[in-house]
């Protein structure tokens, strides 16, 4: 049976990993290649590297890092951040990434999803969606959660699916950094309406949150950062726990 996946996410700025709390403050947490290797040895099922650098030099550093990751790490990895056209995708895949993740670029020009799927295959294309639940329901945000759009989460997710994305990485801005559990209701609704896998992000605080996101949210994978980076939850103990809770994970 296909296993549920545990995915540590590494935010990378100028070659170093960082992690924001509620997307704003940043704390230092190590060398991305070494940290990725450590997670791989501990049983992470995939890795995500997000480039949060804005500068041209930073982009170059990130591409170099992707090449190092590809040479040294033997599990699949996704890269995201600053990918806005096919040439960016091509550059990341040539550097050795297995998948790429797009976010704001897809909201600004949804055809990019169709283009990536037809050029490189759906399995390469992860569409990340940052959304916040407010008075008008779930709204999608641009630029790392800074700019609201008029897009509804569920409408956008359906369109992303139909345009040929391979996976959706959904981050609940209400839950991100709060460590009180994932957005299981919204995730469950996404899982029941989509035909592609959903990666849940935002809200992991304790091991039970991961059980809930799989058992109640019906997510295919769960992504987290700080609980792993700061050692609050170890991946081996998390997977052993999930097994005892009846969740099928790779041990």
């Amino acid at each position: 049976m296909l296993a549920k996946r545990i995915i540590p996410c590494l935010d990378v700025k100028d070659g170093q990993t960082v992690k924001g709390t509620n997307f704003l403050q940043l704390r230092q947490a190590g060398d991305p290649v070494e940290l990725g290797k450590l997670y791989s040895r501990q049983g992470a099922d995939e890795l995500v590297f997000l480039d949060i650098t804005a500068s041209h030099e930073g982009r170059k550093t990130f591409t170099d890092m992707v090449q190092k990751v590809a040479a040294e790490i033997d599990i699949p990895f996704t890269v995201g951040g600053g990918i806005s056209e096919l040439a960016d995708v091509e550059r990341m895949l040539s550097a050795g990434a297995d998948k790429i993740s797009i976010n704001s670029a897809a909201l600004r020009r949804p055809e990019l999803i169709d283009e990536i799927a037809s050029h490189f295959g759906s399995q390469v294309c992860v569409v990340a969606i940052d959304a916040q639940q407010g008075e008008k329901g779930w709204t999608c945000y641009l630029n790392g959660g800074r700019i609201p759009t008029d897009r509804n989460l569920f409408d956008w997710a359906k369109e992303v699916n139909e345009r040929g994305a391979g996976e959706i990485l959904f981050t609940s801005m209400n839950h991100d950094g709060v460590k009180q559990g994932f957005a299981c209701d919204a995730l469950n609704r996404l899982a029941s309406m989509l035909t592609i896998p959903v990666i849940a992000s935002g809200g992991a605080g304790k091991m039970g949150d991961f059980r809930d996101v799989f058992a109640q949210g019906h997510a295919d994978a769960a992504l987290a950062a700080s609980v792993f980076h700061f050692g609050q939850i170890g991946i081996p103990e998390l997977k052993a726990y999930l097994r005892t809770e009846g969740i099928n994970v790779r041990l």
Partner: protein, 208 residues
């Protein structure tokens, strides 16, 4: 040991090369029939679309060379599929090493997502039931101690269980996750992306 990796128009060949380099092997990436024949081991990797891949192989005469190789050959992912008789992907005749037809997954329930992507487990078909294996040639990279272990898959087409099946994995239905016939071996999964288990399988192959 000379290890050749078949060069053709399939993506992600470099992940196989990196995996071999991590194991201390520096492979030769080539589409030269002579270099492929002279290698101790040949790896036929890739991701891609079957009919385009077959077109490239035919243009270079590799559709004749690969089935005639006598050293151990390992096909990976689309490599395994191209080693079969025919693929539904682009409705194309393939290399005909394994007597099997490649089919597209058809979802049965809502939870059946295509492609089959992620980590899934291996069920080893023991050598005695592998009918195409000769008694005296009882070698395999797919050893019994891999039973139940997880490997990484990304694919929308599959090879049904057949007489050349070496390991079975279940997704929607049981399918051939690894195959073996004479000197030809193949995996539907990506050993180069399957962590320590994948490295064990690659090492088993290199030690044949």
């Amino acid at each position: 040991m000379k290890v050749a990796v078949v060069k053709y128009n399939a993506g992600n060949i470099f992940s196989v090369i990196h995996a071999l380099q991590r194991m201390g092997v520096d492979p030769l990436l080539t589409d030269s029939p002579m270099e492929l024949r002279n290698a101790d081991k040949v790896i036929f990797p890739g991701q891609g679309e079957a009919s385009n891949a077959m077109h490239y192989l035919r243009e270079r005469g590799l559709d004749k060379v690969i089935p005639s190789l006598t050293q151990p050959v390992l096909g990976i992912c689309i490599g395994q599929q191209l080693m079969c008789c025919h693929s539904e992907e682009g409705n194309v005749d393939c290399l005909g090493i394994f007597d099997a037809e490649v089919k597209r997954f058809v979802p049965v329930g809502h939870e059946d997502k295509i492609p089959h992507m992620g980590w899934n487990s291996l069920q080893i078909i023991t050598d005695t039931t592998r009918t195409s294996l000769k008694e005296e040639d009882n070698k395999s990279p797919f050893k019994d101690d891999l039973e139940g272990l997880f490997v990484y898959f990304v694919h929308s087409y599959y090879v049904p269980v057949c007489k050349d099946t070496a390991t079975v994995t279940e997704y929607i239905l049981p399918f051939s996750s690894a195959m073996q016939k004479d000197n030809f071996y193949a995996t539907q999964f990506h050993p180069e992306k399957s962590g320590a288990v994948g490295q064990r399988i690659l090492r088993n192959f290199l030690e044949l």
